[in-house]
């Protein structure tokens, strides 16, 4: 069987993803207060961007494909915007939960 070496960009992406995983694990144990969540989600977004751009090859894709790929995330943003505009401004939220829910 003939061996095909991994393209450099893919190897670098993979190593970067594992590095970011180590970084987010380390950061999770640092007492940063509310910033722990910000750091965790920022690193998750960077990892997702690497997967989308390099593994899913969006980086070399034409504009139409990128628009199609962005559509789901656009509507997701609308979903979060409208839903959070409701819940974050609702009097009486969060409701008091009984111990069994």
């Amino acid at each position: 069987m003939r061996y095909f070496p991994p393209p450099r960009a893919l190897t670098i992406s993979w190593l970067a993803l594992l590095g970011l995983l180590a970084l987010t694990l380390f950061a999770a144990y640092q007492p940063l207060g509310a910033f722990n969540t910000v750091v965790a989600l920022t690193i998750a977004l960077i990892k997702a961007a690497i997967v989308a751009a390099l593994f899913m090859e969006l980086r070399g894709d034409d504009g139409l494909t990128i628009v199609f790929a962005s559509a789901g995330f656009f509507w997701l943003a609308v979903l979060f915007w409208l839903a959070l505009a409701d819940f974050l401004t609702r009097p009486g939220f969060p409701p008091r939960l009984s111990p069994w829910l």
Binding site: M1, R2, Y3, F4, P6, P7, L10, T11, S13, W14, L17, L18, L21, T24, L25, A28, Y29, Q30, P31, L32, G33, N36, T37, A40, L41, I43, A44, K47, A48, V51, A52, L54, F55, M56, E57, D61, D62, L64, T65, F68, A69, A71, G72, F73, W75, L76, L79, F80, A83, L84, F87, L88, F93, P94, P95, L97, S98, P99, W100, L101
Partner: protein
């Protein structure tokens, strides 16, 4: 192998490939919203019950979660490598890479199953006799409702992906793909990378809160 020809409704193979890619991204957009609804519920309740979510997240097994993240990231790399290898005519080597990725998926599922078993034995399933009590009990139950639904939906996607990768690997081994014809390869790859991407966010939301 005969020269691959486009299906009758396409003028060229590259047009056919472009249509397949757009179709797959359209499907993935519906998947983004499918998982997005579950994530929205998490965000709303984490906003509502932050200390309960932190307490519940501390009960998850971060070592297993981190190992599974590394496994999925590596499997995605193997798939991207395999797609490239098959395109360049290294069909047999590509099959090895794609099957290795499928095997990584099986390892992920096995670890996930072991993790579920640990959680059931620790009474973390949100039914009668739930382990976390006191003022945070209700919110912690909500966290574990999210945990079991989100990870089970994700595992279902991994299971489908394993079957797809195994099948695509077999076709690659038979020399079905080339620099001219590779649409099924990239479409299968897109699906697997998307499943990986969902896990990246689940990992950050499930295992990391409340550790500091």
């Amino acid at each position: 192998m005969p020269e691959p020809a486009p299906a009758f409704q396409y003028a060229t193979l590259s047009q056919q490939h472009g249509a397949a890619r757009l179709g797959m991204w359209t499907f993935l957009a519906t998947e983004v919203l499918f998982f997005g609804g579950v994530l929205l519920a998490y965000v709303v309740y984490r906003y509502g019950y932050p200390s309960a979510f932190a307490e519940a997240a501390r009960h998850t097994h971060i070592a297993i979660g981190a190992a599974n993240t590394a496994i999925l990231l590596t499997s995605s790399f193997l798939v991207a490598w395999g797609v490239e290898a098959a395109k360049q005519g290294f069909g047999r080597f590509a099959a090895l890479l794609l099957w290795s990725a499928a095997a990584s998926g099986l390892l992920f599922m096995a670890l996930k199953g072991y993790e579920y078993r640990l959680e059931l034995s620790e009474s973390l399933f949100p039914d009668d006799g739930f382990a976390i009590t006191g003022s945070v009990a209700g919110g912690a139950r909500l966290f574990f409702v999210f945990y079991f639904i989100a990870t089970a939906l994700h595992a279902l996607h991994v299971a489908i992906g394993i079957v797809v990768l195994a099948a695509i690997g077999a076709r690659a081994r038979g020399g079905a793909y080339s620099a001219a014809y590779y649409a099924p390869l990239t479409v299968a790859g897109l699906y697997w990378h998307f499943v990986d991407m969902v896990w990246i966010f689940l990992f950050a939301l499930i295992y990391l809160p409340g550790r500091a």
